[in-house]
């Protein structure tokens, strides 16, 4: 067990070193991606500033709470953009071209290799920026947050990143059967806007779907509720339950995908 962890850690260190050299080769794109994330952050903050110009509360959140929520969304976005985005965005193309062979013959988990090989150092800078926004609005809250609430929040946001990863995979894996996932990809990115909204703005069946089958609300909005309202065991059980079910489903689908995969050389 420990040997495997050490082996994977060493491999990931190589991924890091390779990604840093690669990103400095494309210097302009390095800055473009920072601009992109700054615009995204500015857009989200402005969105809520404008909304709260017209309303006092939205989805049960005050303006400062909503902007703290935005900070949390940016943290999730920063983490996924840094660690998995570039890998998952090219996964469909690799399947289509039959390039998965290269990963299947390696003596490590192909999913680990495919999901974490590329790291985006420029997004790491934006992640620091996101933590700054989150910390600033957290300090502006009119009440104090206990250490345990903050700890639970950190754990649940980390879980939110895992949920993002699993949900993203759920939208990519059909490539193994369909050959093209352009439309499903667009659907994912359009649905991703749900992450940036407090879960209580959704009602009825829509809310149920975004809290279970497509758990976009569970990624950030639920952890933020734990941060503001305290660690409700029901919410925490719901978050971990959804993650576990999705992890089992994705694992099962991945195994099915590999079985139906025909390589470029076969």
């Amino acid at each position: 067990m420990f040997r495997a962890i050490r082996r994977y850690t060493r491999l990931y260190a190589h991924f890091l070193s390779f990604s840093f050299s690669k990103s400095f080769e494309f210097r302009l794109n390095f800055w473009f991606r920072i601009i992109m994330d700054v615009i995204y952050a500015g857009m989200l903050v402005s969105f809520y500033q404008i909304i709260y110009g017209e309303a006092q509360m939205l989805g049960g959140l005050t303006k400062t709470e909503a902007l703290t929520f935005v900070g949390a969304c940016l943290v999730l976005d920063g983490i996924q953009m840094t660690f998995v985005h570039d890998n998952l965005d090219t996964l469909a193309e690799k399947v289509k071209r039959g390039d998965i062979d290269y990963y299947l013959v390696r003596p490590v988990s192909p999913l680990f290799f495919l999901s974490l090989k590329e790291l985006s150092p420029n997004s790491l800078i934006n992640l620091c920026f996101a933590f700054g926004i989150f910390g600033y609005y957290l300090s502006e809250l009119p009440y104090s947050i206990s250490f345990f609430q903050l700890l639970w929040f950190a754990i649940l946001i980390a879980n939110g990143c895992v949920l993002y990863y699993l949900t993203r995979l759920l939208f990519i894996l059909p490539i193994f059967w369909l050959g093209l996932v352009g439309g499903i990809d667009t659907l994912f990115y359009n649905l991703y806007y749900v992450v940036d909204r407090p879960d209580k703005v959704f009602k009825g069946a829509v809310r149920l779907v975004f809290s279970t089958l497509l758990p976009f609300c569970v990624m950030v909005s639920f952890p933020v509720r734990v941060l503001f309202e305290g660690s409700d065991p029901l919410i925490i059980a719901h978050i971990f339950g959804v993650t576990l079910v999705l992890a089992i489903l994705v694992r099962f689908l991945w195994a099915l995908c590999l079985r139906s995969y025909s390589s470029a050389s076969s």
């Binding site: 302009l28 794109n29 601009i35 992109m36 615009i39 909304i51």
Partner: protein, 160 residues
């Protein structure tokens, strides 16, 4: 040609989507859409589609000089979504910002065509909007053609 095909396909999707939503949720009582407003709105959508594509093309032409422009493309997409009224109605924006935005191409991508379809645009406003769209279309096409010519002159391919 590909841009026009994209606009046509997207328009069909939008019409189908709007039809399904109208069937599911009904048409709100304050909507004053008429056959004329819908026809004019669809015409404006074609112009909007062209503006959308030419703005993207302008960025993509930077590929003659820059290795990767994905970050800029996504940044433009965010800007277009936010400043066009796709995420939040422009009428909620501060008045000064609305006044500045009215001179940019962004509101003519979503907010203007939507208001035309809903019959919320007076004749004078409609002609002003369409004139601005045409002017932006010409200016951006001219800029794109200049960049294209300059880019082609500097382009060196591998293997030739």
């Amino acid at each position: 040609m590909a841009a026009l095909a994209y606009v046509l396909l997207a328009s069909i999707q939008v019409i189908m989507g709007a039809g399904v939503l109208a069937l599911m949720m009904g048409i709100p009582s304050d909507v004053k859409a008429s056959l004329l407003s819908v026809a004019l709105g669809l015409l404006v959508c074609v112009f909007s589609g062209y503006l959308y594509k030419i703005m993207q093309a302008l960025l993509e032409l930077l590929a003659f000089w820059v290795e990767a422009i994905w970050g800029l493309q996504v940044a433009l997409y965010f800007l277009m979504n936010f400043l066009s009224g796709a995420l939040i109605p422009l009428s909620l924006f501060p008045e000064q910002m609305q006044a500045v935005l009215a001179w940019t191409p962004f509101p003519y991508l979503i907010a203007f065509p939507t208001n035309v379809i809903l019959g919320k645009v007076a004749a004078v406003e409609f002609f002003r909007g369409v004139t601005l769209m045409v002017c932006w279309g010409i200016a951006l096409t001219f800029a794109a053609s200049l960049i294209w010519k300059k880019g082609i002159r500097e382009y060196s391919s591998v293997g030739i």
